[in-house]
Amino acid sequence: MTQPSLPSSPERRTFFHWLTYLVSVAATIVLGIPLLGFLFGALRKKQEQWYPLGLVKDFPEGQTRMVTFDNPLRQPWDGMTAHTGVFVCNLGKDGEKKDQFRVLAVNCAHLGCPVSWFPRSALFMCPCHGGVYYENGERASGPPPRGLFPCVWRVNKDGKLEVQAPHYPSLQDTLRNPAKI
C-alpha cells in the first residue's frame, strides 16, 4: 500500500503562497491601471482649435475691445461657463502690408482673476489684488509677475481674425508657450 501524499507538503504550500501573491499583484495591476488611466485622462492633449472672431475690417484700428465667444475647448454640458473673452486691438498693417493684432486673455497674470478694460485711462485693472496693465498688456503696477497673457491669432483666407482656443493660462503654461502636456 502506498502512502497517500500529504495534502500540504512544504513545496505545495510555498507554491500556493507565491501563486496567491502573483495573482493578487496581477489583480491589482489590471484594476489599478485603468482606474489611474481614467483619472489622468484630464491630461490628454486636446486638438488645437481656432475660433473666428470677425472680419479684420470690423476691428477699428487702435481700439481695444473685448470679444466674447464660446470656447471650443468646452464640453457640450458646460453651458454659459464656456463663455470666454479676449481683448482685441487692431494694430494696423505692418511693413509687409500684413494685418497686425494684439489679442490678450482676460486672466490676470497674478492669480487669474478677470481684468477690466478702462479705455479713458487705457489701463486694465484687476479687482482681486489690484494688478494694473497698460494697453499693450505690459504690467503697470501691483503684484503681477508679468504682463497679460497674449493669445495666438492668425488671419484666415476669408479675411477673418481667428484666435487659437485659449486654455486656462498660468505662469508655466502660457498661451503662446503652452506646457507640453
Binding site: 491630461l43 468646452r74 477690466s116 484687476c126 479687482p127 489684488h129
Partner: protein, 488 residues
C-alpha cells in the same frame, strides 16, 4: 419582547461591545464644572450630522452640471419647498462646524490634553480640521456662481506656480484645459465622496482613540504628565470615574442642541447664501472673494511682498500644518494647566488675534481697486466750491481717468492709493506732475499716466489737485528735491 432582545444581543453582542463604550468612565473632574470645557468636540460632531442630513437633502435637487447647477440652485432658493432653508442651514451649520472645531482645538491645546498618551488623537484632529476646511472650499465651488468660478481660477493659478509640475496639477484640478463641467464634477466628487469618506474614517479613529486612551482629566497646576507614571495614575482616576452615559452626556447634549438652535436661527433669519450671479465668466463686475475661513489667507497674500508670494502660497500652508502635527511630539510631557504654560496661552492669543485681524483686512480688502468708483462716487461738493472752470475740468479728469478707483476723496473711493482730499498740502505742482506721469518708480503701486493724458488734461488735473488742501494748510515749498527732476 425580552426574548427577541436576547436573541438580537446573542447575534450582535451589543451588551459586551457598544454598551461599555457608552458607559465608559470619565474622570471625576471632567464631570464637574470643568466639564463645560469638554463640549466643543461633541458640538462639532452634532453639526457634522446636520451637514450630512442637509447635504443628502440638497443632493436630491442640486445638479452638478455646469449648464444647470445655477438653475437648480435658483430652484432650491425659490421653488423647492423649504429649499432656501436647507441651503441656508447647510451653510451656517458648516460655518458653525468650523467655529466649533477651532474652539475644540483651542481648548485641547490650552489644557494640554494632546500630551501623552493622546498624541495620535491630536494628529487625527488636525486631519479632521483639514477635511473641514476642504469641505468648505469644495462646497463654495458647488455654489457655481462667479465667486466659485474665479475661486477655482485663483486656486489653479496658485497650483500653477508649483515648479515643473504646476501645469499638470492645474489640468488635473480642472479636469481639462479650461474651467467647466469637468471641474464642477471633480469638486462635487471631492465634496460628496472623497473628503467625506476621509473625514468619516479619521473621525472613527479619532473617537476610537478617545475611548481607548480616555478623556483627559482637567489639568491641575503642578500635576505634570510623565509618560512613565501617567497610565497608572489615570487608571486610578477612572476608578472613581463617572460613566459618560449620564450627566456628562446631558451637558454635551445641551450645548449641541443650543448649537443646532443657533444655526437654525441664523439660517431662518439670514437665508441662503448666493448664488451671487450666473456662472458666466465674461460678465463684467466680477469681484471674487473667498469664503470667510479663507479670508485670512487672501489678506496674507495681498499684504505680502510679491517676492514672498509664491512661498506663502505653496510652502507656508504646509509649514503651518506640519507645525500643528508636531505639537504633541514637541511637548509630550510636563505641565498641562494653562496657568503654568504662558507660552501656550500667548500662542493661542497671538494666533487668534492674527487670524482675526487678517480676516478683517480680508473683508475690507483695501488693496483692491474699487472698480465702479470712477463713475459711481461723486466728487464731494466742498472740494468743488469756488473753483475755476479749469480746476473743475481737472476734477472731471480725475473721475474719467479712473483715479478714484484707487484714490478716495473724503474716504469715498478706492483705498489702494493715498486719499487725495489734502494732497495739495503734501505735494507741489511739479511733484504731482512727476507722480502722475511716471507712476511709482520701479513699477510700484501707481501706474504711469504720462501717455494716457494730454497736456491740457494734465494741467487741469494738477490745477485741481493743488487746490486740495485742508483748512489753513499752506502749499508745500516748491524747492523740494524731487520737484524739477523729471518734467514732462
Amino acid at each position: 419582547m425580552k426574548r427577541i432582545l436576547a436573541w438580537l444581543d446573542a447575534r450582535l453582542s451589543i451588551r459586551e461591545s457598544l454598551l461599555p463604550m457608552l458607559t465608559h468612565p470619565i474622570p471625576q473632574g471632567a464631570a464637574g464644572p470643568m466639564g463645560w470645557w469638554y463640549v466643543f468636540g461633541s458640538a462639532s460632531l452634532t453639526l457634522l450630522v446636520v451637514q450630512i442630513l442637509t447635504g443628502i437633502a440638497l443632493s436630491l435637487v442640486f445638479v452638478p452640471g455646469a449648464d444647470t447647477a445655477y438653475e437648480s440652485l435658483l430652484y432650491l432658493n425659490f421653488d423647492q419647498p423649504l429649499g432656501w432653508f436647507i441651503r441656508a442651514l447647510h451653510y451656517y451649520a458648516g460655518s458653525g462646524m468650523v467655529v466649533m472645531v477651532l474652539l475644540h482645538m483651542a481648548q485641547v491645546f490650552l489644557h494640554g490634553s494632546y500630551k501623552y498618551p493622546r498624541e495620535l488623537t491630536w494628529v487625527l484632529g488636525v486631519f479632521l480640521l483639514l477635511c473641514t476646511m476642504g469641505m468648505f472650499f469644495t462646497g463654495q465651488v458647488l455654489r457655481w456662481d462667479p465667486d466659485a468660478y474665479w475661486g477655482i481660477a485663483v486656486g489653479a493659478s496658485m497650483a500653477g506656480r508649483v515648479p515643473y509640475l504646476g501645469p499638470y496639477i492645474v489640468h488635473l484640478l480642472l479636469g481639462g484645459p479650461v474651467i467647466g463641467g469637468d471641474t464642477l464634477s471633480r469638486f462635487f466628487d471631492l465634496h460628496v465622496f472623497i473628503i467625506p469618506g476621509a473625514l468619516l474614517f479619521f473621525l472613527t479613529v479619532h473617537l476610537w482613540l478617545v475611548l481607548k486612551r480616555g478623556v483627559s482629566e482637567p489639568p491641575i497646576p503642578g500635576k505634570v504628565v510623565d509618560p512613565n507614571t501617567y497610565d497608572a495614575h489615570y487608571e486610578k482616576e477612572l476608578r472613581n470615574g463617572v460613566p459618560f452615559l449620564g450627566k456628562p452626556l446631558l451637558r454635551d447634549a445641551l450645548v449641541s442642541a443650543l448649537s443646532v438652535l443657533a444655526v437654525v436661527a441664523l439660517a431662518a433669519v439670514i437665508g441662503p447664501k448666493g448664488p451671487s450671479g450666473p456662472p458666466d465668466p465674461t460678465l463684467s463686475g466680477a469681484n471674487p472673494r473667498p469664503e470667510w475661513p479663507f479670508l485670512w489667507l487672501f489678506a496674507l497674500l495681498s499684504l505680502s511682498p510679491p517676492s514672498a508670494e509664491t512661498f506663502i502660497m505653496l510652502v507656508f500652508p504646509g509649514v503651518l500644518i506640519f507645525a500643528l502635527f508636531l505639537v504633541p511630539f514637541v511637548s509630550r510631557r510636563g505641565e498641562r494647566a494653562p496657568s503654568r504654560r504662558p507660552v501656550a496661552v500667548l500662542s493661542v492669543l497671538v494666533i487668534f488675534t492674527t487670524l482675526g485681524v487678517l480676516t478683517y483686512e480680508g473683508v475690507t480688502a483695501p488693496w483692491s481697486p474699487k472698480m465702479t468708483a470712477w463713475s459711481g462716487d461723486p466728487v464731494p461738493k466742498h472740494l468743488l466750491e469756488k473753483r475755476s472752470p479749469r480746476q473743475m475740468q481737472g476734477a472731471a479728469v480725475l473721475q474719467i481717468k479712473q483715479c478714484r478707483n484707487c484714490h478716495a476723496l473724503d474716504d469715498v473711493g478706492g483705498q489702494r492709493g493715498p486719499d487725495l482730499t489734502t494732497v495739495g498740502g503734501r505735494m507741489t505742482r511739479d511733484q504731482l506732475i512727476d507722480q502722475i506721469s511716471n507712476g511709482t518708480p520701479g513699477g510700484g503701486n501707481m501706474p504711469a499716466f504720462g501717455k494716457q493724458m494730454s497736456p491740457a488734461e494734465m494741467d487741469a488735473l494738477v490745477d485741481f489737485l493743488t487746490t486740495l488742501r485742508g483748512q489753513g494748510q499752506p502749499a508745500p515749498e516748491p524747492t523740494s528735491p524731487v520737484a524739477g527732476m523729471v518734467r514732462p
